[in-house]
């Protein structure tokens, strides 16, 4: 489906105004989760100090919540600047978070005190304008979530299920100032609920327990199964997961902020903490940031033939001090030159235009990577990038038609087909966003939490890598389109270019819309 690709995404959603950044965010750190020895995991040793001390060093002002019996130890570990408070239960944790949300002027972070990660991960979470949750791939952590485009559509806790998850929540929740009131309301409501969980919650918790037990049996039957790194049982005291469910159910758009290649761990023993410290020490953060600047889901052409070197161009541009917007504008300028070369209609012009068009596409990939690498996003930048992509493509159509002279009808058909394909993607996404509101947190299941309908064998086939790439190629994403325009124009004639664009685009339209229509009618 093309819906995972940037060209079909509304720009508003994932860009920010750098100037609007308020004072440092407040963080509520939960030093409550237990390690294997029963003491707070946040107190595990880490590089001469503790995991908690390492984490609070990466944050601004912090409020640390600790169970009363460990309050003194946590206070020692958290450092003199931290405001450590005793909190006897998850319900008290939630009330303390509600109070912090009502008092906070800027963003509020809620996170576990036993998390080991890079400061960059927390920086990414705070980079956008909206509330967000740090997320990782499926199986990475204990609470699966469902992310669709740039918002979480369903989240889970010990008491809440999620259907068809495609990511996991990594225990760091960032609430933007606009959503703090909702967070406080949600936290107070959850506090009442966790004190005496409703029957539906308890049966969901029991269901999770049974599933764990049966999974363990499976492991015995197949000791070499791929489930070795299965996360632990769902912890009913995990208030971060509960809050995420609460925000999602309240209709707050929470962005999934993916960890990508960065490290993240929640050690449970001194040995695991030492291993995590070693891995963090040994990491080339710049290298990871660069690798992470590559978009998670992209087309075949872009992934294999462009990003392997375009990310190095992005680093070069960053060192030269170029901004993403400057690179975007340069990309358009190269695209205009490509269209002008096509318009000559001569063979040399078609070849030169093809080379320029590919150069323009590579430059276009660089601007997004540069923005992700340097963490500079702007609303204008996102808009320019999206509009200029369309402008370059349609200018190339015009150039080819001017050069050939007699293919204007095909050019009209090609621009219509491509715009209709995008319109369908946009409208489908908008319809999903405006669908029925999620049920309240009292309900353990939401609309997304249906049991999967696919057979296991079909699911494995569906996830088979060559098929996945094939499906992405059928959808005819932007990289493939630019490659087709360049290669057919250079080797053949503009007429061939338009015929191939119409044929492949027609198949893509039929393939993706047929699936959507069938799903809509069911």
């Amino acid at each position: 489906m093309t819906s995972g690709l940037s060209e079909t995404r509304a720009v508003d959603a994932d860009v920010t105004l750098p100037a609007a950044r308020p004072a440092a965010p407040t963080a509520v750190v939960l030093a409550t989760a237990r390690a294997d020895d029963g003491r707070p995991a946040a107190l595990l040793p880490f590089g001469g100090g503790t995991v908690l001390g390492h984490l609070t060093g990466q944050l601004g002002p912090v409020v640390v919540l600790a169970r009363p019996e460990f309050e003194a130890d946590v206070r020692r570990a958290a450092g003199p600047a931290a405001d450590v408070r005793a909190s006897a239960s998850p319900a008290d944790d939630l009330r303390a978070i509600a109070a912090a949300a009502r008092a906070a002027g800027g963003d509020l972070l809620v996170l576990h005190g036993d998390i080991v990660t890079h400061a960059e991960a927390l920086g990414w979470l705070l980079a956008g304008p909206r509330s967000g949750a740090l997320t990782g791939g499926p199986g990475r952590a204990e609470f699966p979530v469902q992310a669709r485009r740039d918002r979480l559509t369903s989240a889970s806790s010990a008491y809440h299920g999620v259907g068809r998850p495609n990511a996991t929540f990594l225990g760091v929740l960032r609430t933007a100032p606009d959503d703090l009131g909702t967070l406080a309301d949600v936290a107070e409501r959850l506090a009442r609920l966790v004190e005496d969980p409703p029957a539906a919650w308890r049966s969901e918790l029991a269901r999770k327990g049974e599933r764990m037990a049966s999974d363990v049996d499976d492991d015995h039957a197949d000791p070499e199964g791929a489930e070795a790194d299965r996360p632990g049982p769902a912890d009913p005291d995990d208030v971060a997961a509960l809050l995420l469910v609460g925000l999602v159910r309240a209709g707050v758009p929470v962005a999934p902020v993916f960890l990508r290649r960065l490290l993240w761990d929640r050690p449970l023993s001194p040995a695991e903490a030492a291993a995590a410290a070693e891995r963090i020490e040994a990491t080339d953060v710049d290298r990871l940031r660069l690798d992470s600047s590559v978009k998670a889901i992209d087309g075949f052409f872009t992934t294999f033939l462009v990003t392997p070197y375009s990310k190095h161009l992005a680093r070069w541009a960053a060192r030269r001090g170029l901004t993403p917007d400057q690179v975007t504008i340069a990309s358009l300028a190269i695209g205009v030159l490509a269209a002008a070369a096509f318009a000559t209609g001569e063979r040399w012009g078609l070849v030169a235009g093809a080379v320029l068009l590919l150069a323009s596409f590579v430059t276009d990939c660089v601007d997004g990577q540069l923005a992700r690498y340097t963490g500079t996003f702007s609303r204008l930048g996102g808009w320019l990038d999206a509009m200029f992509d369309r402008a370059k493509e349609y200018l190339a159509f015009a150039g080819l038609a001017i050069g050939a002279g007699d293919v204007w009808l095909l050019a009209c058909a090609a621009i219509t087909l491509q715009t209709v394909r995008h319109a369908a993607d946009f409208a489908f996404a908008a319809a999903q966003d405006e669908a029925a509101p999620p049920p309240p947190v009292e309900d353990p299941l939401d609309g997304a939490a249906r049991p999967p309908r696919m057979l296991a064998a079909w699911r494995r086939f569906d996830a088979w890598a060559p098929l996945r790439w094939g499906k992405r190629m059928i959808a005819f994403p932007i990289g493939e389109r630019f490659a087709v325009i360049a290669l057919t124009a250079a080797a053949f004639t503009p007429r061939v270019t338009f015929v191939v664009l119409l044929a492949w685009g027609g198949v893509a339209l039929a393939y993706s819309q047929a699936g959507r229509v069938l799903r809509s009618l069911r």
Binding site: M387, Y394, A423, A430, L521
Partner: protein, 184 residues
């Protein structure tokens, strides 16, 4: 206005038709637009551009009536997403066919008009909150089809299409620049 209603890009004429048709409509919007576009596509395939201005007027008026009436069709939760892409297919196809009725010399002009329109239709999505601004000046798809037909009948093609593309493009770009300035 919901996003889907905004993406339709209706003008005053379509909205009025929708209001009139709302109480009596038996069909979902998508079916109405398909029914409105079908005769145009059949005629275009069978006759190409070989039709009289009056014949072209009948075909375009049918599209205007049915697709306009669809503006009043109740929002279908399941197939509502089909209307914006069908609207674009109908509008752009009709403009290309108007060019075909004039003759091949009008195709570049039709391309120019469509290219200008794509700017608006992508901008409607990318900048949803303030995209209504150019609404009246943009005429809506209905107004643009009427204008295109009048240019055809008045013998003003292909120059009329270039003029239309330049004016629409200027309106859209000015609105975008203005809107982005406001946003900061």
């Amino acid at each position: 206005m919901t996003a889907l209603a905004l993406y339709r890009d209706d003008g005053p004429l379509a909205r009025a038709l929708g209001r009139e048709a709302e109480p009596v409509l038996p069909l979902p919007a998508a079916a109405l637009i398909v029914g409105g576009l079908a005769p145009l596509l059949v005629v275009a395939v069978v006759r190409g551009g070989e039709v009289s201005y009056a014949g072209a007027g009948v075909v375009l008026a049918w599209l205007l009536l049915t697709a306009g009436a669809s503006a009043g069709a109740p929002d279908s939760a399941r197939t509502g997403w089909l209307t914006p892409p069908l609207m674009r297919a109908a509008e752009y196809s009709a403009l290309i066919w108007i060019a075909a009725v004039h003759g091949a010399s009008a195709y570049p002009g039709a391309f120019a008009v469509i290219a200008a329109l794509t700017f608006r239709h992508y901008d409607l999505v990318y900048r949803r909150r303030r995209a209504d601004r150019a609404g009246t000046l943009a005429l809506g798809w209905d107004g643009r089809l009427v204008l295109g037909y009048l240019l055809l009948v008045a013998g003003a093609l292909p120059a009329g299409f270039y003029f239309m593309a330049i004016v629409l493009g200027a309106v859209f770009v000015a609105d975008a620049v203005h809107g982005l300035g406001d946003d900061g």
